[in-house]
């Protein structure tokens, strides 16, 4: 193991393209610029010195938006004076009530529990990094984040709402709730934090923070 340790610093100077698996040597970038793979054009890394500040305010905003999205109805429909509304919690409870437990559990994890864990993990991670504390804990939080992100599907759920509404057009009157717009904004933030920025970027920030 000790002999392996000497390579570590050296290895940090390289990056492998996630799309075509080619090896690249990193070069220093000016702030705001990004490096792309010369074979396939995929973004490899960026230098964004103010990322932590922006990510923290976005993550906290995202958390508030996610709470709002779950407090009020996302959509309300009106059929001959009868009103019905739904949000994520009502979807889950209705699925449980009608006996579709596996579908309910799937929705509960992919649209509620895992997204909540992602955002909590993200906030804890950034706070710790800004305080320069808990190096070992930030590693565990980052590993957990990598395992959670593929299962978080609020973006797909938001698209599904629109698809569901298309199926209902003509039959009922549709009203969008405040929560719907909160959910859309949350999805935008979630995509920026977890999909647009590669997890490797956070690891590099962590390295810079705890090891100079």
């Amino acid at each position: 193991m000790a002999q392996h340790a000497q390579y570590e610093e050296e290895l940090e100077r390289y990056v492998i393209c996630p799309r075509c698996n080619t090896l690249h040597q990193k070069i220093p970038l000016p702030p705001g610029k990004r490096a792309v793979c010369k074979y396939c054009g995929t973004i490899l890394y960026r230098y964004d010195p103010r990322y932590l500040d922006r990510a923290l305010s976005l993550a906290i905003t995202g958390l508030i938006l996610f709470v709002v999205a779950n407090l009020f109805p996302l959509i309300q429909i009106d059929l001959l004076g009868n009103e019905q509304h739904m949000n994520i919690l009502e979807v889950i409870s209705q699925l449980l009530e009608s006996g579709y437990y596996i579908v309910a559990i799937g929705v509960m994890f992919m649209v509620l529990i895992i997204p909540a864990m992602v955002i909590a993990d993200y906030i804890a991670l950034i706070v710790l990094m800004r305080l320069r504390k808990g190096e070992a804990l930030t590693r565990d939080l980052l590993v957990l984040l990598s395992h959670l992100i593929p299962w978080s599907m609020v973006d797909i759920f938001a698209v599904s709402i629109l698809v569901a509404l298309v199926k209902l057009t003509g039959e009922v009157r549709i009203h969008f709730g405040v929560s719907f717009w909160a959910l859309l904004l949350y999805v935008g933030i979630d995509l920026y934090l977890t999909k647009a920025r590669r997890i490797g970027t956070l690891w590099e920030l962590r390295n810079r923070i705890y090891h100079g």
């Binding site: 739904m86 590693r139 298309v166």
Partner: protein, 212 residues
Amino acid sequence: MAEKHPEKLTVIRCPICEAVNVDYGGSIRCHRCDSRIYREPRYGLGRTWALLITAMIFYLPANLYPVLQVKNIFGGHTSNTIIGGIILLWDQGSYPVALIILVASVFVPVLKFVLLLYLLISVRYPVSESKALRHKLYYLTEIIGPWSMVDVFVVSILTGLVKFDRFKVLAGSGATAFVLMVFFTMLAALSFDPRLIREYPRKRSPKKEKDV
């Protein structure tokens, strides 16, 4: 070409934190996040096969059984399979939405099965010489996979929303099969060891000229 291609170097990208690691062979741990990068090759393949076959089995009931049922006050009851729902949307003139569901629910899972089968076969037998192609395919399966949840979410949303006394939407047993299919497909894709992509053909790459 031979010199330029980094696959010749024994380095591997950590699937969890994206760090570049020297591939010493056998079971290695990432120097940055300590995740296990490589499992026993045969075990890893066997597990992916098992998960993929399970997912493919669930694909049948997911498409043959109704995913959605509509009940009305007069005891009327209609149910729709995924294909049935798509035909209904098409007849209503909602062509874009019909196409979205057709692609997301019918084509994406099949595409993902085919890609994973191709990857599993090509690491064992030299079907294709192009490792770059295999890497791109693997990357593609990771991106498109979760979108097959659209129809399950649509059904769940309709269940949560359309619960009038006279007119009710319920999920169907196909939806349960569909959730399980997506779950096992994602597990199969996540369990697929990226290093296996380079395992065949079995010529051991010559010792790299310079240490990375």
